[in-house]
Symmetry: C2
């Protein structure tokens, strides 16, 4: 199968590596407006050839969008306008705004909305790696709007990436990921900002950072372009979860302020319940 | 050297294992009011024998407090009253309240205030492990109040645990750890509470949890007794850092609410600066 990947960052690059290596793709065509990313992917052997979006559409069986939601929303209808039998999917972390945008497109059935829940705090083709998706969840949204053939092709593709399939509608998807992914990133960014604000001496941060701190601020290294795009496209859910998160922090603040050890214990013991789930 | 360890949880147990294994301790005496912990440590071979605090004081060269700050504050003056040449240290994550409590004790010089910055989210003697402290920071506080002999003995002990020494006063210690350790835990507890509140379907949390979520909520599995004790004993600093953290979260909320992509980008890019430090 000839596959075109639009966007050769961590996600697009990692998909390219394993889809080729594991035999699902015969040829990987790369498309990226970022020439550095495109040339790097070519030089690293992640893609077989680089071309424009229009050339890619004409010479491919499957097109994967691995670019921010905003760009996907802009380009997806244009690409749908031009396809015949080609199947399209995307890897965006938000699904509501994208599915909404193409809901009534006459070629909607060629498109499968998917979200492979994998990543690291690094970005760009340099960060691409084999095995990134192994064992992780692949979320399919609004599959009733896709043709059976398109869906089965995309399912087969993610089977090659060893992903666990889950199905939900785009609205529920965006609610869930706000809680189990987007808020973790905001929390981590805010934590890094807090420490950088208060610890003027960077050497102290480095010297004192323990394993706990490392793991909670790791996500603060994540790409600004990618995450501002996600927050923008899932703003209602993200703000709702942020409100709850701030409420919980204020519960801790009140308990600590009141020297209320019982309340602190109660809050932490409730939080400990996460042990039984993860 | 005969070493008594008061408290055989993760920290006390892990110290016992490596101090014996690496030849710093000839005998490890365990003291714990939690009989389950004490017997487990004995049965696991982590300690050589179990006895009461008074027996331990009389038959030992070095006493390590590895119990919560509140209990350390209560017991440390009593133990200092009874020691002759014995050296005492503690492993508490807060130092101000403890050093304040014994500042004018006539045996203060026998005590070295220390904080080995290591741990995991697990607790109890079952969680004790060899190598826990290797390469991590050991913070010494107010060393001018300890005798040279006491300090050099404790320094030698932490050398056996392969720790990197850092020196500061107890006040600065408590400020710094609020930023690089205590806030990470509150953030993680609050994150777990948020998700547990909103995701009534636990299976969703399990299925959707990605690597990012796992790493940010890992600390939410930490012991309630230990952490409420730490928050209580470092309340002023913890509340100050909590205020800053909530401010940063509100900055994100405002930017997202206003669809202000520039502001979101700016906040995340500032947070990304943590990359250069860690």
């Amino acid at each position: 199968m000839r596959i075109s990947i639009i966007g050769l960052g961590l996600i697009g690059g990692s998909m390219a590596i394993d889809l080729k290596k594991r035999g699902f793709a015969r040829t990987i065509i790369g498309v990226d407006t970022n020439k550095l990313h495109l040339n790097t992917a070519l030089n690293m052997g992640i893609i077989d050839r680089a071309c424009t979006l229009d050339e890619a559409i004409d010479n491919t069986d499957l097109i994967i969008f691995a670019i921010p939601a905003k760009e996907t929303i802009r380009l997806l209808p244009k690409v749908l306008n031009k396809v015949d039998q080609q199947i399209i999917t995307d890897a965006c972390s938000v699904k509501g705004t994208i599915c909404e945008r193409v809901k009534h497109h006459h070629k909607r059935k060629n498109y499968v909305a998917s979200h492979p829940m994998a990543g690291t705090e690094n970005s760009g083709p340099w960060a691409a790696q084999s095995g990134l998706f192994d064992g992780k969840a692949i979320l399919y949204c609004d599959v009733e709007d896709s043709s059976e053939q398109a869906l089965s092709t995309i399912q087969k593709m993610y089977e090659y990436l060893n992903m666990r399939p889950l199905y939900m509608n785009a609205y529920n998807h965006d609610v869930h990921v706000a809680y189990v992914s987007h808020i973790s990133h905001i929390s981590s960014f805010a934590l890094a900002l807090t420490v950088l604000d208060k610890e003027k001496n960077e050497k102290n941060i480095f010297n004192l950072a323990s394993g706990g701190f490392d793991s909670t601020v790791r996500l603060a290294k994540s790409s600004a372009d990618m995450w501002s795009d996600i927050f923008e496209n899932n703003s209602v859910n993200v703000i709702s979860v942020l409100d709850t998160f701030i409420d919980k922090l204020n519960d801790f603040k009140t308990a600590i302020n009141d020297s209320n050890l019982n309340k602190m214990n109660e809050l932490i013991q409730k939080a400990n319940h996460i042990k039984k789930i993860l």
